[in-house]
């Protein structure tokens, strides 16, 4: 089997606030200061195969964006290894590293913040290809036109500035910008979350078309289960920095294993359900600053056992291509 497009092995990302001299002194004097560590991503194994669309779902702050950034190579991992088609990314140097980096591109959530307001569309889309020699100064205009057309934008508007476009169009500009460096892997971080349903549908369709047309691979990050369900082949569910469940999309929606996944699915309002009684996951999402010990979900879990608060459950295969991290599976 060919190596996966991207593979993460035990990848972690910590954000630390270390103490300076004054802080250490204060600590010695007994002041309640401490080094703060956020385990944004905590030992994640994940692989995405060529041509696959993997949906990454989880609630706010669970580390989805951080994971996406590491995959896209704009943030280094604190621990673990990231392989790109079997090659560890960190070992690459110079031009090769740059080439690999370009092959993964990211589409961002905020259509307003993700475009430099002071550049024209032509520059936003055309800057990187020119810089990386994918086109020359003479061919740049045509190149940009092509990219824009492919993202569903009229090239006539390339001399405009981002603020003159609507949200959906901006998202298309972002897509054109990413596609312009000819990637084969796109990380979409909440790429449609800020869009209205009707516009969201346009962009989702564009994604699907591009996938077919360019044989793209996606890591599709979203908190909207219905979007993920619609688009993905496989779903990965994160909770507080850890992957708790991973399975093909139908499997997840039909036979969710992890209690968190189950609650999540239950909490999502569905258009088919009229006047339904909303069910409730108890409790708040804990702070990643001091996550609960053991299984992160145990304080909110209806099935929590004593073991859950001490031991971290491992992600285990419970059915073919279906992995889950829950102690309940051991009991069964």
């Amino acid at each position: 089997m060919t190596p996966p497009m991207i593979e993460l092995r035990g990848v972690s990302r910590r954000f630390e606030k270390t103490l300076d001299f004054a802080g250490r002194l204060a600590k010695r004097l007994g002041a309640p200061v401490r080094e703060e560590v956020v385990h944004a991503v905590d030992g994640v194994d994940l692989s995405v195969h060529k041509g696959e669309v993997v949906g990454l779902v989880g609630e706010s702050g669970c580390g989805k964006s951080t994971l996406g950034r590491m995959v896209a190579g704009i943030m280094p991992a604190s621990d673990g290894q990231i392989f790109r088609e079997g090659v560890e990314v960190n070992t690459l140097q110079g031009a090769e590293a740059k080439r690999v980096k370009l092959r993964t591109q990211m589409i961002f959530q905020d259509p307003y913040a993700s475009l430099n307001p002071r550049l024209r569309v032509a520059d936003i889309v055309g800057e990187a290809p020119l810089y990386h020699g994918l086109t020359d100064a003479a061919g740049q205009a045509a190149y940009v036109d092509n990219q824009m057309r492919r993202a569903g934008l009229d090239p006539a508007f390339k001399r405009r500035y981002p603020h003159q476009f609507s949200g959906g169009q901006r998202q298309r500009i972002g897509i054109a910008r990413a596609l312009a460096v000819q990637p084969d892997f796109l990380v979409c971080d909440e790429a449609v979350a800020a869009l209205d349903v009707s516009i969201q549908a346009q962009v989702l369709n564009l994604f699907m078309e591009l996938r077919a047309e360019l044989n793209l691979t996606y890591l599709f990050i979203s908190h909207d289960l219905s979007v993920v369900e619609h688009l993905s082949d496989r779903v990965v569910i994160m909770y507080l920095g850890r992957v708790v469940e991973e399975a093909p999309v139908a499997e997840v929606f039909a036979r969710a294993n992890h209690p968190y996944t189950q609650s999540l699915l239950a909490a999502v309002p569905r258009i088919e359900a009229r006047k339904k009684a909303f069910t409730v996951v108890q409790g708040e999402i804990p702070s990643p600053l001091n996550p609960p010990p053991g299984c992160h979900f145990h304080p909110r879990c209806p099935f929590a056992m004593p073991r859950c608060s001490v031991e971290r459950p491992v992600l285990r295969e419970i059915a073919p291509r279906h992995r889950s991290a829950c102690h309940l599976n051991d009991a069964a």
């Binding site: 950034r69 980096k101 307001p117 569903g152 934008l153 009229d154 001399r159 369709n205």
Partner: protein, 306 residues
């Protein structure tokens, strides 16, 4: 079917291509006061630039001065044959020429110091924001140190140390002002840095310098421009105060502040014009700059934008 294949036409938001600059200009033009102030300020700058061709006298050339023409009232005809429309000072210096040349000095000092301080401050601020860590700490501690020290005292000490002279005044003002720029730029750079377009640029493997100067810096400019204008006005006023305190530009090349300080002693003796007209000129200059800066602040502040 394929909606993506047929390009979506953007709706005609504006009839013509609206650049940020044009939008900015049209918004700026909305305030009549600010436009008026800008016009006044432009006239002042032109006066200052073309001073040698406009003024009847070169007030810096001792040869053209005659103390026998000293302290003449406005409108007197002097020994050199032309009329002193705004009178003369104690050295027989034509006040009108003196004021126009003084404007020149004041503007050079104000704009020069703001410009240099802006460049230094902006570079350090960008560096602090982008490099972070120790660099950031060191630069910001320096900024704190500078800001925790009263401007006028610092300038006073520096000038006492460096001695008089236009360039020394500029140096002193740069030393006391760079920190404002550094802090402002760092603040906005930190905000801008977190925006996704910077991540996008990183993702596109663009080099760091390019991200800083092409992507980050232009977006940090608006607050910089605003404090720049305000600081020009402040620098002019500060220079005037320093000259008043006896430190500042050389006496033979008086700035507006020095002219005022000189004439100040004549206020009680009824020879108001020696101090009054330079005072008015200083006032108009600073007010017009401040008005422009003030409106710039409104126009460039995204939070107040409708």
């Amino acid at each position: 079917m394929s909606a993506a294949a047929e390009p979506v036409t953007p709706e005609p938001v504006a009839p013509r291509v609206e650049t940020p600059l044009r939008r900015f200009i049209s918004q700026f033009m909305e305030s009549r006061i600010a436009v008026g102030a800008l016009v006044v300020f432009t006239i002042i700058v032109l006066l200052a630039v073309f001073a040698p061709w406009i003024t009847p006298q070169n007030p810096y050339d001792l040869f053209q001065l005659d103390i026998m023409d000293g302290r003449m009232e406005p409108g007197t005809v002097g020994g050199a044959g032309f009329t002193y429309w705004l009178g003369t000072d104690d050295q027989g210096r034509d006040m009108l020429s003196g004021i126009i040349y003084g404007l020149r000095i004041s503007l050079i000092v104000g704009a020069g110091s703001a410009f240099i301080a802006g460049i230094i401050g902006a570079s350090l601020g960008m560096l602090a924001a982008y490099a972070g860590g120790k660099t950031d700490t060191v630069i910001m501690r320096l900024v704190d140190l500078q800001l925790s020290f009263p401007t006028i005292l610092a300038a006073l000490m520096i000038l006492a140390f460096l001695g008089k002279g236009i360039s020394n005044v500029v140096i002193a003002l740069v030393i006391v002002e760079w920190a404002y720029y550094a802090r402002t730029v760092r603040g906005s750079a930190l905000v801008e840095r977190r925006r996704e377009y910077v991540e996008a640029a990183q993702c596109l493997a663009l080099p760091t310098w390019r991200i800083i100067f092409v992507h980050l810096l232009p977006n940090c400019l608006p607050p910089l421009i605003v404090i720049g204008t305000i600081q020009v006005a402040r620098a002019i006023a500060l220079e005037a105060t320093l000259s008043f305190l006896g430190l500042g530009v050389p006496i033979t090349e008086p700035s507006l502040g020095l002219l005022i300080a000189n004439g100040y002693e004549y206020m009680l003796s009824g020879k108001y014009w020696i101090s009054f007209y330079p005072g008015i000129a200083l006032l108009i200059t600073i007010v017009s700059i401040n008005l422009v800066g003030d409106h710039l602040r409104d126009v460039l502040n995204p939070r107040l934008q409708k």
